[in-house]
Symmetry: C2
Subunit: 182 residues, 2 copies
DNA sequence: TCCGGTGGAGAACGATCGTTCTCCACCCCT
DNA sequence: AGGGGTGGAGAACGATCGTTCTCCACCGGA
């Protein structure tokens, strides 16, 4: 198994465990056993746990936004594409291992104590807001709609996570549609 | 110092430390030194750390909602009172030690591993949503507005926490006003 | 004045965890 | 065939932390 492969396996295991149970609740030894990569190799690839946490967040950010953008791009009109953001959220909320936003969770857990985690969360949210702003601009809608549309999505993620129901995505979608009408 | 007083001091210290740095980042010894209550007494009052965490969340929920309701009640009209929710959030976001929603943070940190924390977060959010629904009903607005108004508030809290800016409260307020117009 | 019990200070214990080290098997190069 | 270096398994180390225990000072009642 080459180094590329080992790295991917470690990151896969880290993502599943960190996201599913929280960063501090998962020990490095558990990542070793879940990934099948020896502890020595894990520490060669990621010299400290914080490096692994950072890599996990960066990779997840890229994949999350790419998945969202791919789904949204299938919309027929620019207005429809905005609303498809909430459809995608609803699908996400329905996944059995959905547990809210990895960045919000990590920020709540370590944001006060780890500047790297805080920065990763800030960057992720900023890129999401910029993406929404792009959709709004493409639809010829006024710029001021971007922030509330992002807030609705953000609120839906948190509410769905804590309540355990995907319903907030539909409420957010309806409200977004109403904001787009005016 | 009687038992009531000791309990209050411990909870005050726990709230400041747990909210400020996260539950797992704070040791019981630090709560002892911050509260001035001996470790033995702390454990008499709260037999385990989880009991202290639960008491912290319960007390914070009660006070948070009471503070909000007191501020909102000063609004002149029922419509104005709904919008004052976002004004109160903006004041909260501006406080120097604001670090997001204690329940969202605790849920992200321990929700997957502690059913008590998950339940406290669910209850808190449910009571907040019910409170918003009451304001909507008082204003004679349709019930379906309650959920999106709560989502805007929820999104504003998370976004303000991570971005470090109180601005999301104003965006949420403007969007809420627009939803109330239709 | 003695005494039992309450409470404080802090050491001690046991577990967990991040990180490193030891020891050994394997394998490519000459 | 021999040797050096890579990698695996897992023990070991040092720190932290939740929780308990020890020892002692104090204090109200006989």
């Amino acid at each position: 198994m080459d180094s590329e492969m080992a790295r991917a396996r470690v990151l896969d295991a880290a993502e599943e465990l960190f996201y599913g149970r929280g960063v501090q609740a998962v020990g490095m030894d558990e990542i070793r056993s879940a990934s099948g990569v020896s502890l020595k190799r894990v520490y060669q690839l990621f010299p400290a746990k914080t490096d692994l946490v950072e890599a996990y967040l960066l990779r997840r950010d890229a994949r999350w936004r790419a998945d969202l953008a791919r789904f949204v791009a299938d919309g027929d009109s620019s207005r429809e594409r905005i609303l498809r953001v909430y459809d995608w959220l609803e699908r996400w909320f329905g996944e059995p291992d959905f547990r809210g936003c990895a960045f919000v969770n990590s920020y709540g857990e370590m944001g006060a104590v780890s500047e790297a985690v805080a920065r990763a969360a800030r960057t992720h949210k900023e890129l999401f807001q910029r993406y929404v702003a792009g959709l709004v601009a493409d639809a010829g809608q006024p710029d001021r709609l971007a922030a509330p549309l992002a807030l609705l999505a953000e609120g839906a993620i948190t509410t769905a996570a804590i309540s355990g129901s995907p319903e907030p995505a539909r409420h957010a979608r309806e409200a977004a549609a109403r904001l787009l009408e005016a």
